[in-house]
């Protein structure tokens, strides 16, 4: 065997196998979907804030349409409330 063949067989093939295994192990989480959260890792996503979908036909549904048509910027309807209670926790 020439030097090139030797290198290909004894370095190229093992490197290829390692690359395939690494892709199988890490590839899916790297390229597909958002990262899984792990405690202690930084959270680099913009904040998100969700409200439940109102029941169809309810008063809240018509409010939702009105609110979405003004891009959620205005239309205050309930009086502002102070926070009264709740709970907090750390992990």
């Amino acid at each position: 065997m020439s030097i090139v063949e030797t290198v290909l067989v004894f370095v190229g093939i093992p490197a290829l196998i390692i690359a395939v295994l690494a892709l199988l192990v890490y590839g899916r989480s790297q390229f597909k979907g958002p990262n899984r959260y792990r405690p202690g890792k930084p959270w680099n996503f913009p904040p998100v804030w969700y409200l439940p979908h109102p029941a169809p036909g309810s008063a809240a549904e018509t409010d939702r349409l009105a609110l979405e048509s003004t891009s959620g910027a205005s239309a205050p309807r309930a009086a502002q409330q102070k926070a009264v209670g709740g709970a907090s926790g750390e992990w």
């Binding site: 958002p34 959270w43 913009p46 904040p47 409200l51 439940p52 309807r77 409330q81 102070k82 750390e90």
Partner: protein
């Protein structure tokens, strides 16, 4: 007050949307569907409005969560805010005048405990879903 909302970044959304800004979104469509289902069912069962915030909270955390709650209370009836900050590893449940009558602080603390158990295991969505279910169960059926 609407300026307050935009300064903080998140706009209130009705239900998660899987297609919105998918690259920078923390949750997969399936996870969003789970959060959406838990939030909507809890709210319809109990008659309260459960809102979920996931993102960083300014120091002090409690005051930041309460100011978010005040914004929320202008838009909805009987709101309950569940604020989770995965980066800072804190969670806050905030109730108002009406919702506190249905959800005593002890019930909120129990839900927070259940959420902490899931969060410390790395299950963010599971913790949110668990917390919402526990809160809705404690609040009981709505009017």
């Amino acid at each position: 007050m609407s300026g307050e909302v935009s300064r903080r970044g998140p706009a209130l959304q009705y239900g998660p949307r899987a297609d919105a800004d998918a690259v920078h979104h923390p949750f997969s469509p399936r996870q969003l569907a789970r959060i959406d289902e838990a939030m909507t069912l809890s709210s319809r069962e109990s008659g309260l409005t459960f809102s979920v915030y996931v993102g960083s909270l300014d120091e002090p955390h409690r005051a930041a969560a309460e100011s978010l709650f005040e914004i929320l209370s202008e838009r909805t009836n009987d709101p309950v805010l569940v604020a989770v900050s995965p980066g800072q590893r804190v969670l806050h449940i905030v109730t108002g005048t009406e919702s506190a009558a249905r959800l005593p602080n002890r019930a909120c603390a129990l839900a927070a405990l259940g959420m902490r158990a899931s969060f410390s295991g790395g299950d963010l969505v599971g913790g949110i879903v668990t917390g919402l279910r526990m809160l809705a169960d404690s609040a009981g059926a709505g009017r």
